[in-house]
Amino acid sequence: MKRVYVNEAWCLGCHLCEYNCAFANSGLDDMVLALKGRPIYPRIHVEEADKITYAVSCRHCEDPICVKSCIAGALSKEDGVIRIDQEKCVGCFTCVLVCPYGALAPNKDGVMQKCELCLQNTCGEPACVKGCPNKAIVYEERGEAL
């Protein structure tokens, strides 16, 4: 299955992926309108530590602990993609507590959101990948589960 992978060596820490993600999932076709003057709630997050930067989004685990832990049955796995039904989510944060990648976070209304590989928006391919200026983020197949 194709997943989003990030190569630390090429991540510039520019945070464009976060903005592209927030824009792609805004439902708007104007980035300025979507993002100007307000905090953003991206589904990808740039991890930064001493000289290291890389972006993290949902790994779409083979054995997704978030899905198994969701009290509302809002998280599910369809064709390998971990989806969230935001209507069902009650904002209990159990998924935040269990995800070992820190890939889930609430939106501005406290409802959980996560990377769904831009399958639910009009982007066509993951916006973080498309917009990464250094191809640090790629969308590709990397073989079987460990």
């Binding site: 054995d63 198994k68 049955g73 904002g91 070992p100 820190g102």
Partner: protein
């Protein structure tokens, strides 16, 4: 062909069904469901009262779940006994269900202490099941003064769920603090303060001496007037089915890492089961949802002939009230790293080069990274703990671990 019988229809049962079907797509599964509802998650009942969900959205699985899983569900039925010698379950409608593999996912039941004068209280409720919540909903109105006995997870979620719908909510508990099973005094105080700001009144370190109609006489001498009483003192695992046939039962039904009980062919999962808590290093009932599902799933796979172990159980809780989230995991022993602000608190407990537990209040970002340190028993010497203390980030892991986590498929 196998014949599976699952007693109970909660999340552990759903996990069990999905586990079985992962291995065995066809053998019949029969579920005995005491409740008249398709599987839902009990913690949702407070969110229901709060209006954050509704009966439709509460469904844990899609409508066609049982159909797709080829399950027969006997709604409103209770399993009376296990005929172990003939491998049958005796149901209260007289049916005898033969099984080759049986899973007990019987959950727990509220424990009600023998308060004196309880029988004088007209409007009294438990808060375990959806039916309890629906009954409570019918019993309250905007003028109701509600007394909740028990300041644990259930009592407080109930308080949160109804506080906007009633005149007042008072919570009392014998313990000296809220959420005493998961929070220490300081953390509990922070949470209590937050709850009080949202209109909840507490009587702590105090308990009801006796009820008199609409009045609760507290041991401290205080009197609390109420219209509606909710009893949320505690729960007990439903273990009798196994106990009566001589299976090993402690606080719950004792299971191994494959969720097998001491009786061949019988498995147990969920709140009724007592498995290994790897944080504590002992068996105990971990009545939390993720464990319930994973135990059920593990049981299901093993019942169907697969082989998996579930050896990652740790206590963990994410509980939020009015937007303030408390997350806890593991055990609180060893050295403490602490960070505090007026509205947040972080405590990390480390011992023997491991993260043993944590309490996070109001600082929940990427908490799962801490949880994974406990679950995976990652030596702290292999990570940059100084960075981790400040924020939960995988950047603190070694390049090798990072590469494995993010380059491989997990």
């Amino acid at each position: 062909m196998k014949q599976y019988v699952i007693v109970g229809n909660g999340v552990a049962a759903a996990g069990c069904i999905e586990g079985i079907r992962g291995v065995d797509p066809n053998s019949p599964i029969t579920v005995i469901s005491e409740e008249e509802h398709a599987v839902y998650c009990r913690p949702l009942i407070s969110y229901y009262l709060e209006g954050k969900t509704d009966l439709d959205r509460m469904q844990y699985r899609p409508q066609d779940f049982y159909e797709k899983m080829k399950c027969r569900v006997m709604y409103g039925r209770k399993a009376l006994h296990i005929r172990h010698d003939v491998q049958e379950v005796e149901v209260d409608d007289g049916t005898r269900l033969p099984y080759t593999e049986l899973c007990l996912a019987t959950g727990s039941a509220p424990f009600v202490p023998p308060f004196s004068g309880l029988d004088t209280v007209a409007e009294k409720y438990s808060f375990m099941t959806l039916d309890d919540a629906l009954a409570l909903e019918r019993g309250i109105d905007p003028t109701s003064r509600v007394l909740i006995v028990g300041a644990g997870l259930i009592g407080l979620k109930c308080a949160e769920g109804i506080v906007e719908r009633v005149a007042s909510v008072t919570v009392c508990d014998l313990a000296d603090r809220v959420l005493s099973s998961i929070l220490d005094a300081e953390c509990a105080a922070l949470m209590q303060q937050h709850l009080e700001q949202h209109g909840i009144t507490f009587y702590l370190n105090d308990s009801v001496d006796r009820f008199e109609g609409h009045t609760a006489h507290m041991k401290s001498g205080a009197r609390v007037s109420f219209d509606v009483l909710v009893l949320a003192v505690g729960v007990r695992a439903n273990t009798v089915l196994l106990k009566e046939i001589g299976g090993e039962v402690d606080r719950g039904i004792v299971v191994d890492e494959r969720m097998k009980t001491s009786v061949p062919g019988i498995y147990a999962a969920g709140d009724c089961a007592e498995g290994l808590d790897i944080a504590l290093g002992q068996k105990r009932v971990l009545a939390i949802l993720p464990n319930g599902y994973m135990q059920g799933y593990t049981a299901g796979i093993n019942m169907a002939g697969g082989s998996v172990v579930f050896d990652k159980a740790i206590p963990m809780n994410s509980i939020g009230f009015f937007g303030l989230h408390a997350m806890t995991a593991g055990v609180y022993e060893g050295e403490v790293y602490e960070e505090k602000t007026e509205t947040s608190l972080k405590r990390l407990f480390t011992k023997d080069d491991l993260l043993k537990g944590f309490i996070l209040i109001g600082c929940d970002e990427r908490a799962g990274i801490y949880t994974s340190l406990i679950r995976e028993k990652i030596p702290l010497s292999s990570v940059n703990f100084e960075i981790l203390k400040i924020s939960a980030t995988t950047a603190a892991f070694s390049p090798e671990i990072r590469s494995k986590k993010f380059g491989g498929v997990v």
